[in-house]
């Protein structure tokens, strides 16, 4: 299997990038795929808090850290690489990757690449699509609408949205459904992967005392998220030879 890089990002903050990255890590392990994650929220690292053993905190603007990711793609046994890009750095990161020649290698068939572009409810999100698209060539571009908090409604005019969406040929839309806010908060407090919370374990693998009700909500929600990833054939897109 070729190494695959999955970039999760948005130019706007607070759209739930880390949450989506967490579901992706859970999804990969549920499908028995070894993954590693890079958390670009340097130096804090909120993804690392939930998935400490497979996450490394990196500064994507620093060359040594870029090397840490890209130069180890072929040697690492963990073939799925999830990069949680810091808010506002998506375009610059993609530009850096272009300069390094990463996308050329992708076109040459050396690596697999996918972009999870997390869209927020504001129109500004749509304008990002135009900025980001040229880098990916539209291939494996996922427009992810995140309803997890459902605090604000998506205020796009459908016609405007379609016009942006059409630019991205072959773009795929993913909808992340709402998760009950109490359940979300409890997982956040527990600081464990969603799948661990569902199994009622703590970070050390011991039995936890999580609410059956809240575990039920997380389980149902995560199943819907996984169904979305299945629907768009995410695994095939990342692993097909």
């Amino acid at each position: 299997m070729k190494p695959a890089v999955l970039v999760v990002g948005a130019d706007k903050g607070g759209v739930g990038k880390t949450t989506i990255s967490r579901t992706l890590l859970d999804y990969m392990s549920s499908r028995n795929l070894l993954a590693r994650a890079f958390d670009a929220e340097y130096p804090r690292g909120s993804l690392k808090r939930f998935h400490p053993s497979m996450t490394e905190v990196v500064d994507l603007a620093a060359i040594p850290d870029q090397m840490k990711i890209l130069d180890t793609l072929t040697t690492s046994e963990r073939k799925i690489n999830i990069i949680d890009v810091r808010a506002g750095q998506l375009s610059s990161t993609l530009r850096n990757f272009t300069d390094i020649g990463f996308f050329e290698a992708v076109r040459g068939g050396e690596f697999r690449f996918a972009l999870f572009h997390i869209l927020g409810p504001s129109v500004a999100s749509l304008e990002e699509i135009a900025d980001v698209l040229p880098f990916t060539g539209g291939k494996n571009y996922f427009a992810v609408k995140n309803f997890i908090n459902e605090t604000s409604f998506f205020e796009w005019d459908p016609a405007v949205y379609d016009s942006y969406f059409k630019m991205a040929k072959g773009a795929v839309e993913i909808n992340i459904p709402k998760l009950n806010e109490m359940a979300y908060e409890q997982v956040d407090l527990a600081g464990v992967p969603f799948s661990t919370f569902i199994k009622n374990k703590n970070a050390q693998g011991h039995n936890a005392n999580n609410s059956l009700v809240l575990r039920g909500y997380v389980k149902t929600w995560l199943k819907h998220v996984f169904d979305e990833y299945d629907r768009v054939g995410l695994i095939d897109r990342l692993t097909d030879e």
């Binding site: 109490m182 359940a183 609410s211 059956l212 039920g216 389980k219």
Partner: protein, 260 residues
């Protein structure tokens, strides 16, 4: 097996089928058996079970997550005790959907509880179909068909077919005999403690004078008291037998799974 804690879910898709009466009887049955228990009423508008046990019933609104937690998370309480849920017809679908989403039966069994659904249909095909759906959806839970004779029974021919036949040919049943209206109104007096009534009938002098809040019982004619007592004995026998049978079924299933 005597240690086994139950979650009794008294359910009907219809109003006025005798759910609250049955939930109350189970609560009193547990009291007579010396068991402490938790009582839940899911009817936020007309919480009748709460009127019988005002200090003991927790009223839960299943549309609210904190209330869902009160009900379903009570499995995890440090002192495990049996539970009785008087499930309103208004929250029938909601409850069973949550129960499925939370994988409640498996969780309950893991925590040492045996969930038992006591299903009371009226005579309609629709009610029986809903019963079959519940039965098939929760195969690992105990299931008891409750035949409240006050509602009438489907015709003999009907009982041979489809959903009627599936539920009817399955054991155990609990049969609630008809009560004449006069006795019924006496029994339905919220001030009357059924377990107390039974204890007094068994040992008239042991418990001292009837407390003023339960005077209604003292006004009953001898005839009515005899009828009440007979009805209650029948009901408690029915419950004892049904609980024993669902426990046996659960043990057989567990044995098949781990033994063979």
């Amino acid at each position: 097996m005597a240690e086994k804690k139950h979650v009794f879910i008294v359910a009907s898709p219809r109003p006025r089928t005798g759910k609250t009466m049955l939930a109350r009887l189970i609560a009193e049955y547990l009291t007579l058996a010396g068991e402490t228990r938790k009582l839940f009423d899911t009817d936020v508008i007309d919480h009748k079970l709460a009127s019988y046990f005002p200090t003991q019933v927790t009223i839960v609104d299943l549309e609210r997550v904190p209330d869902q937690m009160k009900l379903f998370d009570s499995l995890a309480s440090p002192v495990p005790m049996s539970q009785v849920i008087d499930l309103s017809h208004r929250s029938f679908a909601k409850f069973f959907n949550l129960m499925r989403d939370f994988d409640y039966v498996a969780e309950a069994k893991q925590a040492g509880f045996h969930p038992v659904i006591l299903f009371i249909p009226d005579t309609s095909a629709d009610a029986y179909e809903q019963g079959v759906a519940i039965l098939q959806r929760f195969r690992d839970a105990g299931f008891v068909l409750v035949r409240n004779l006050a509602l009438g029974e489907p015709s003999r021919e009907k009982l041979q077919e489809g959903s009627f036949d599936i539920l009817h040919s399955r054991k155990p049943h609990v049969v609630m005999p008809r009560l004449d209206p006069f006795t019924l109104s006496a029994v339905e007096d919220p001030r009357l403690s059924l377990s107390d009534f039974m204890r007094r009938a068994a040992a008239p002098d042991a418990l001292g004078p009837i407390p003023p809040v339960q005077m209604s019982i003292a006004y009953l004619s001898l005839e009515a008291r005899k009828a009440t007592l007979h009805w209650l004995r029948t009901m408690f026998d029915e419950l004892r037998r049904a609980i024993r049978d669902v426990d046996l079924q659960a043990d057989i299933v567990a044995h098949d799974r781990f033994g063979a």
